[in-house]
C-alpha cells in the first residue's frame, strides 16, 4: 500500500463521508435530557482554515453524547466522526486515556504500534502520523473534545 493509501484508509474515507455526530444538539454547555454536565469547545487551525465545535454531554462519569459542527479536510472530519462513534457510553477517564494514546500515535511519525483494543477504528490514523503537515488535522476534534471534557468537569465543580 502506498503511503498515501495508508493515510487515506478505507475507514477514514468512509468516516469522512458519514460524519457521525455531525450536527450539534445544542451549541452550549447547558446540560440537557439525562445529562448532568456538558462542555463545549471550538478549535481552529488558522493555517488551513479547518475548524470544529465539539460538544460533550455527561451523566456522572459516563459520556452520553459527542456532537460537533465543523468544516475541514477529510482527515479532520473523519477524526471527528470516529471519535463521535467511540465516545458515547465510555467513561470520562477512559476517553481521556484514549485521547492521550491517540495523540502519542499521531506524534510517532509512523513508528507507533497503537493498541487496537484501546483505540478501535482510530488506529487507522497511524498512517497520518507519517505526514507531519496533516497531524493537526487528525488532532483537531480530539483536542477540542479533551477541552470540552475539562470544561464539563469544571462546570460540575462550580455547582
Amino acid at each position: 500500500m502506498s503511503a498515501l493509501d495508508q493515510m487515506y484508509q478505507e475507514v477514514i474515507l468512509d468516516h469522512s463521508k458519514r460524519r457521525i455526530g455531525e450536527g450539534l444538539a445544542a451549541g452550549d454547555a447547558t446540560p440537557m435530557g439525562d445529562e448532568d454536565a456538558a462542555g463545549c469547545h471550538h478549535e481552529y487551525n488558522p493555517t488551513c482554515g479547518d475548524e470544529i465545535l465539539v460538544r460533550v454531554g455527561l451523566n456522572g462519569d459516563t459520556v452520553t453524547s459527542l456532537t460537533w459542527q465543523g468544516d475541514g479536510c477529510s482527515i479532520s472530519m473523519a477524526a471527528a466522526s470516529v471519535l463521535s462513534e467511540m465516545a458515547p457510553g465510555a467513561d470520562v477517564s477512559t476517553l481521556l486515556t484514549q485521547i492521550e494514546a491517540y495523540r502519542e500515535m499521531l506524534r510517532s511519525r509512523g513508528a507507533a504500534e497503537p493498541d487496537e483494543e484501546l483505540l478501535g477504528d482510530a488506529v487507522a490514523f497511524l498512517g497520518v502520523s507519517r505526514f507531519v503537515a496533516r497531524v493537526k488535522c487528525a488532532a483537531l476534534a480530539w483536542v477540542a473534545t479533551e477541552a470540552a471534557l475539562r470544561q464539563a468537569a469544571a462546570g460540575r465543580t462550580e455547582d
Binding site: S2, A3, L4, M7, Y8, L13, S16, K17, T47, C48, G49, D50, D71, G72, C73, S74, I75, M77, F131, R134, C137
Partner: protein, 444 residues
Amino acid sequence: MNHGLPVPDGQRGDSHQAPFDDDQARALAQRFPILSRTVMDAPLVYLDSGATSQRPESVIEAEGQFLRNSYAAVHRGAHTLAVEATDAFEEARRTVADFVGADEREIVWTSNATEAINLLTYAFSNATAGSNGSGPGSQRFRLAEGDEVLVTESEHHANLVPWQELCARTGATLRWIPVDDDGLLRLDALGDLLNERTKVLAFTHVSNVTGAVNDVATLVAAAKSAGALTVLDACQSVPHLPVDFHALGVDFAAFSGHKMLGPTGIGALYGRAELLNSLPTFLTGGSMITSVTMERTEYLPAPARFEAGTQRISQAVALAEAVRFLKDLGMDRVAAWEAELGQRLARGVAQIPGVRLVGPRPGQERVGLASVVVEGVHAHDVGQLLDVAGVAVRVGHHCAQPLHRRLGITATTRASAYVYNTTADVDRFLEELSGVRAYFRAED
C-alpha cells in the same frame, strides 16, 4: 507557437529575442538547481511560485560571491570593503529601480512587501501625530475621523490589515470596492466609494487568488480626480509583467524579492520622490539621520530616511542579480509565456467535471495562475494527492480570507507558474487534478 499576448518589440530595452516556448522553459529550468530534484520519487513540478519563487544558480552564487569577497557594513566606515559593499548595495538599488520604472531615490529597501505597506501606514500615523519629522508637506498623509481609506475585497491580508489598523489608530473609515461572483473587481461601484473624503486608494495590481490583472489606469485616474493617494500592491505583477511605476502613475507601490527569483528578507517600497521626502519616518535610529542632539533629530532625505539600522545588504545584491536574470529574458516574453500557461490552466480546469475555476474565465486575461475548488473534496486533500505525485501547489485561503468568504468557499487549491514552467507541468497538474474526485469518491 501560440501565444496569449502579443509580444511588443524591445519594451524598456528588453531583448528582441523570439517568443518563449517549452524548449526554452525546459532549458531555463536547468539553471534552477532545486527544480531537478524529486518529491516522493516523482520529478518535482513546482507550481507554487505565487507563494515564493525558486532561485537560479546565478542568484545563489551572486550572494555567495558578494559574501566571500566584498561584504561589509554600508554607508559607514571608509575601508575598502565598506566602499565596495556600499557600491554594490547602491548599484542594486539602481538596477531594481530601473527594472520597475522608478528613480533610484524612489526605492526604499524593506524586508518584504508586508513591511513596505506597514512602513507606509505607520508613516501616515506619524503624520497624523505630527511626529517623526512631520513637516509642512506631511499634511496630506494625515488622517482623521471623516476621512476614508479605500481598499478592495480581493486584497491579500498584507494590503488590508495594515489599513484596518491605520484606520483604527486615526479614526478614519475603511471602505472597500466589492468583487463580483467571479472574484473580479466591480469597478461600477467605484463612483460612490471614491469621493472627496477618500485619502488613500490601496489595491493590488494582480490578484494572488484569481490571477486577474486589475485596471490600474482606471483606478489611478479615478483616485487622482478624487484627490486620493494611490498605493499599489505589486507583489504578483513585478515578477511576472513588465511594470513601470512612473507610467502607471501610482504614488506608492510594494513588492517582494523572493517572488521574483530573489532571496527572502528583501523587498521594496516605491514612492514618488516628492512624496517620499515629505513622508514622516517609521523606524528610527542609526543611518537615517543628519544631526542628533539630546533634544531632537533631523532626518536624511529618502530613501535613507526609511532605512534605519544595518540593511539587508547581500539580499539586495542578490535581488539585483535576479532582476538582471529577468531583464535578460525580457519581461514581455516572460509575461507572454505565463499568459499562455495561465490560459492552458484555465481551459484545462474548466474541462474537468466537478472542478470550479475561480477568477477570470478561460480566454479572459489572467497571469499564469489558477485557483480551483474541487466539489466534495477539501483543498488540503487535493494538495496532498498532488504532492505525492510531485506537484507542489498552495492550498488554503492564500492570505485572502475576505475574498474566499465572498465567493462562498473556505479554501482553494492554487497552481501558480513562473517562467521556468512548461506546458507539460501544467498538464501534469491537470492530469492529477482530474483524478482527485474519484480518489475521494466525490463523483456520486
